[in-house]
């Protein structure tokens, strides 16, 4: 029932104050702020050569360990200071966004595809394949991913591909579990039963009837996983098992500054801040998306 019936002034009032109600939700700070941070990171990664003031690999030994511009002894030439080889910290952070962004995008594509496929198959077909799939999923969720990633780094040698593989190897499990749960609810829905009655093949039902209905949870989980992937990627880089030098990564920059923490705190501080900011934005955006699309999924 429309509460405005019999109260024409309410309708007028509402329409005057909210001319485009649908756009309002995008103007909230918990949507705008994270999106701005993520867009800046995306632009920094794509246009790094245009934005970065210096070549991230260029070493200038005369400019070693220069503090940031706003600290005594710093100069505006290096806004966030330089590291022990005289490389510009700001430029390296800008270039480091490429690794974090590239790994996140690839891992999300791989894990969501595998996880969704397995989740839909297991949830819809049921039976022994489903129960064994769920046991594998449970175990995958309980394994500390970083240990497997370190094992892979030793076997394959550290590289961009190794990092993506290592994070993806266990990363599909949350998708499989979530999507399977959704499919279990959908498989007895009227529209699925009707599709079966008119003789749709299982493949067609899964693809054209069930899949479109799990896109919302899929989107929410993918957004929420951005932060987690970046945290794991940077941790691997910190431990020396990530994308190898000389490619600048946020995690390895923090590691570089570890031994110089008593003299040059800025080397570790700013890359870590960049990680925290991006992860925070990813988590906030995921929460916002979940509240908008599917508030039931509060637990993920």
């Amino acid at each position: 029932m429309d509460i405005a019936v019999g109260h024409p002034e309410l309708v007028l009032d509402a329409e005057e104050k909210r001319p485009s109600r649908n756009w309002d939700i995008f103007l909230k700070p918990n949507f705008l702020l994270p999106v701005i941070v993520l867009v800046i990171m995306f632009l920094a990664a794509v246009f790094a050569p245009l934005i970065a003031p210096y070549d991230p690999l260029q070493t200038t030994l005369t400019d070693r360990l220069k503090p940031p511009a706003f600290v005594a002894g710093g100069s505006p030439a290096h806004l966030l200071g330089t590291d022990k080889l005289g490389r510009d910290v700001l430029s390296r952070i800008i270039y480091g966004a490429r690794v974090s962004l590239g790994v996140s995008v690839l891992v999300i594509l791989i894990t969501s595809t595998i996880g969704t496929t397995l989740g839909i198959l297991g949830g819809y077909l049921g039976g022994a394949s489903d129960s064994s799939l769920m046991r594998i999923t449970d175990i995958s969720l309980a394994i500390p991913g970083i240990v497997i990633a370190l094992l892979l780094a030793v076997i394959l040698g550290p590289s961009f591909t190794t990092v993506v593989l290592a994070i993806s190897l266990l990363g599909w499990a949350p998708y499989a579990r979530l999507i399977r749960g959704e499919v279990l609810k959908l498989r007895t829905a009227d529209f699925v039963l009707q599709a079966r009655i008119i003789g749709c093949s299982p493949g067609r039902i899964m693809l054209t009837h069930i899949f479109p209905n799990v896109i919302n949870p899929l989107l929410i989980l993918a957004t929420l996983s951005v932060g987690l992937i970046i945290l794991v990627e940077s941790a691997l880089s910190y431990l020396g098992a990530g994308v190898p030098p000389p490619t600048p990564t946020w995690g390895s920059m923090v590691a570089d500054g570890r031994s110089l923490i008593d003299t040059a705190w800025w080397i570790s501080f700013f890359p870590g801040l960049a990680i925290g900011l991006v992860v925070l934005s990813g988590n906030f955006l995921g929460d916002w998306l979940r509240d908008r699309l599917d508030p039931r999924l509060r637990q993920i």
Binding site: I143, V154, I261, V279
Partner: protein, 304 residues
């Protein structure tokens, strides 16, 4: 319950076989593991020697069998760098990891319980918002960075605590607290949300109507049932504990299993990495088995 326990034990055993197979395949998929050990100083004779020692000249099923029986005998091979059995090296590092992990676990989970319950009972108060804020920060800031910033503040700037390594009780403060801070947020969110569910239930209302003091209602009646949901997450929390320990032991130069693993990775000391992976996998399976049993015990409706 006895029959289900046996089924569950068999399942765990099958999982263990599956996991060892996975590790075996991962290791062999990359080609000859001996090639990984080749450095500029290795001679062909040494390589042939290692191959024979490891049985790498045999067929894959035979190799897998050797690998399995070695594991069953507690033989995880020898370190390539230190030339000592991997089990001995793990044994030396394990006590340091356990003391760090246990302390952090008790503090982190204890704090999570108290803060989660208090936040749930005073929903939307400044305390609740503060707890949510800590949870959000704890889940977003990279652990290794938090550790380094803590070193900067407490060891470099204020010079209150040692920066790293093993020593007196003061050496424990920073690693334990950062690891606890890493563990806390997830558990806190779980306790808070499951406590909110329970507080709205009928039997909590009944307990209040009966005139029980609010403290008994919350900490005895409600909390007991609110703990069932976080218990299922125990496996994930344990995985988090290991992840955090690997990172923070490296940050604080703490001579535990995590640092042993990372040093072995950078030195490409393959048997050590493989041995620690197997050990972690084993512990993970046992923990999950125990959690399942505890779960069925706490909530009798649950059957495997």
């Amino acid at each position: 319950m006895g029959r289900q326990l046996i089924i569950r034990l068999i399942q765990t055993f099958i999982s263990l076989i599956g996991m060892s197979l996975l590790i075996f395949i991962l290791v062999r998929a990359s080609g000859d593991p001996v090639d990984l050990m080749r450095t500029s100083t290795t001679t062909d004779a040494e390589i042939a020697n290692i191959k024979e020692q490891w049985g790498l000249d045999k067929s894959y099923p035979e190799q897998y069998w050797i690998f399995l029986s070695g594991m069953a005998h507690g033989d995880l091979g020898k370190s390539l760098i230190q030339r000592r059995p991997v089990t001995t090296m793990i044994g030396e590092a394990l006590p340091n990891s356990l003391s760090l992990g246990l302390l952090a676990f008790v503090i982190g989970i204890g704090m999570a319980l108290v803060l989660g319950v208090v936040a749930a009972t005073r929903r939307d108060s400044w305390l609740d918002n503060g707890v949510k804020f800590i949870a959000v920060l704890g889940q977003a800031l990279p652990t290794f960075w938090v550790g380094i910033v803590a070193i900067y503040i407490f060891s470099v700037y204020w010079q209150l605590l040692p920066t790293s390594g093993l020593g007196g009780p003061a050496n424990y403060v920073l690693p334990v607290l950062t690891l606890a801070f890493f563990l806390m947020p997830g558990m806190m969110r779980l306790v808070r949300s499951s406590m909110l569910d329970v507080l709205g239930s009928e039997y909590v209302k009944l307990a209040r109507v009966k005139g029980l003091p609010e403290r008994t209602v919350i900490w005895k009646h409600a909390l007991r049932n609110a703990l069932i949901a976080p218990l299922t997450a125990a496996g994930a929390i344990f995985a988090g504990l290991i992840t955090g320990a690997v990172i923070l032991e490296t940050v604080f130069a703490w001579p535990g299993v995590g640092r042993l693993l990372v040093t072995a990775v950078s030195g490409r000391d393959f048997p050590v990495v493989q041995g620690i992976t197997i050990m972690v996998a084993l512990v993970v399976l046992v923990i999950n088995l125990l959690v399942d049993i505890a779960y069925a015990y706490v909530d009798p409706r649950i059957r495997f």
